[in-house]
Amino acid sequence: MSEINSLDLNEFITNAVSDVFDTMLSMEVESVAAGQPENYNGGHIVGTVSLAGKILGNLNLHVGEEFAMQITAAMLGMEMDEIDGSEEIHDVIGELCNMIGGDLKSRLCDYGLTCELSIPSITTGKELKIEPRGWDRREEYGFSSNQHTARVEVFMKIGN
């Protein structure tokens, strides 16, 4: 339990998100207060990866549909109207989530908390809410870029 609480997750996640957005999307992100009201204009996409091993965890990346389209266009080097449907958007959000989760996994392993990373999954909906239960630590970090916000949630507990 104390191992989990001593982790500087803020630094891990902030560095990972900045690096991924800068390298893959050429987008600068700024940290913003988490938990502020978000307007997803009806479309809400959540990418999720799970960690399992000495530590158990979930990482969720929340973005609105419009920001997801901007991200997809930037990642694939195309215009937004060239995006070939939601499958392409989900793949990009899943891959971003995999990269942020992969970086977190590496940091955890460096602390001796060895674990495996799942392949990403995607949840979409309108006004959806994910209610975590039974975790030892829960953190939430907000980021803004191009007048949009993204939110990263991390849930953790000690595994076997």
Partner: protein
């Protein structure tokens, strides 16, 4: 010959990024979504390079790499691993498996190219327009007839180019089921031995390829051709329209 590059990644996004990274190079790209498909594609196309993700469903990259190394015909293919995990243990595991290099995600396409160029030379992609223009510098098409128009001066380099282009053109015509060709000498300013040899070789090649051919030349050129023993019997017409009718 183009380098065959196989990208094995469950993410279409990453496969597209890899494909774009190689777009300026003479490469033929192949894709697979997991290790099982990757092994099958590798066995089929025998790529010169594999870009392999680690975390994939069905069969992950580590397992695919292990199986690849067990196959005598595939074990020497250079592999660059892609991983979202930069932790020491992960990197050590990859290095021990005998990969040529690895890339930690996130990465830019140019970073991947730099890694590849450390292990092999990438040839720039040939300019398709330039290649097409070069192929068509002597040839044009009038309805169902291919026209080979020789330039004003027929030199040795010109004969080499024409013979090379003619070989490709005859193959193209055979595939397109075209069988009519006109050899247009109207622009040729001087009748020399090289021209005579080129006319003869063109006629022979067309005969072999079962292509009907007519020579278009001015009246003066027609007379000059008659003065050479090798071309004295060749029927000559004076206009393209006459040649089309004769064909």
């Amino acid at each position: 010959m183009a380098l065959k590059v196989l990208t094995v990644d469950d993410s279409k996004t990453i496969r597209m990024i890899v494909k774009k990274a190689f777009k300026n190079y003479d490469c033929e790209m192949f894709e697979a979504e997991n290790g099982v498909e990757g092994l099958a594609t590798a066995a089929k196309v025998k790529p010169g390079l594999i870009v392999l993700d680690i975390t994939m469903p069905v069969m992950n990259g580590i397992e695919m790499l292990g199986k690849l190394k067990e196959e005598p015909g595939l074990k020497d293919i250079p592999v660059i691993m892609l991983t979202a995990e930069s932790g020491k243990d992960n990197v050590m595991q990859i290095v021990k498996m005998g990969v040529k290099d690895y890339m930690v995600k996130p990465f830019k396409g140019q970073d991947l190219i730099e890694r590849v160029e450390k292990i092999m030379q990438l040839a720039p992609k040939p300019d398709e327009d330039e290649a097409e223009n070069r192929a068509n510098r002597y040839f044009s098409q009038v309805e169902d007839v291919a026209v080979l128009a020789l330039p004003s001066k027929v030199t040795r380099p010109v004969t080499v180019e024409v013979e090379s282009d003619l070989q490709a053109k005859l193959k193209e015509m055979a595939e397109a089921k075209m069988n009519k060709l006109v050899l247009d000498l109207c622009k040729v300013a001087e009748t020399n031995v090289l021209l005579i040899k080129l006319i003869i070789s063109t006629l022979q090649r067309c005969q072999t390829a079962k292509i009907a051919i007519r020579v278009v030349a001015s009246a003066k050129q027609g007379e000059e051709l008659k003065s050479f023993q090798e071309t004295s019997d060749i029927p000559v017409v004076n206009t393209l329209a006459e040649a089309q009718t004769a064909l």
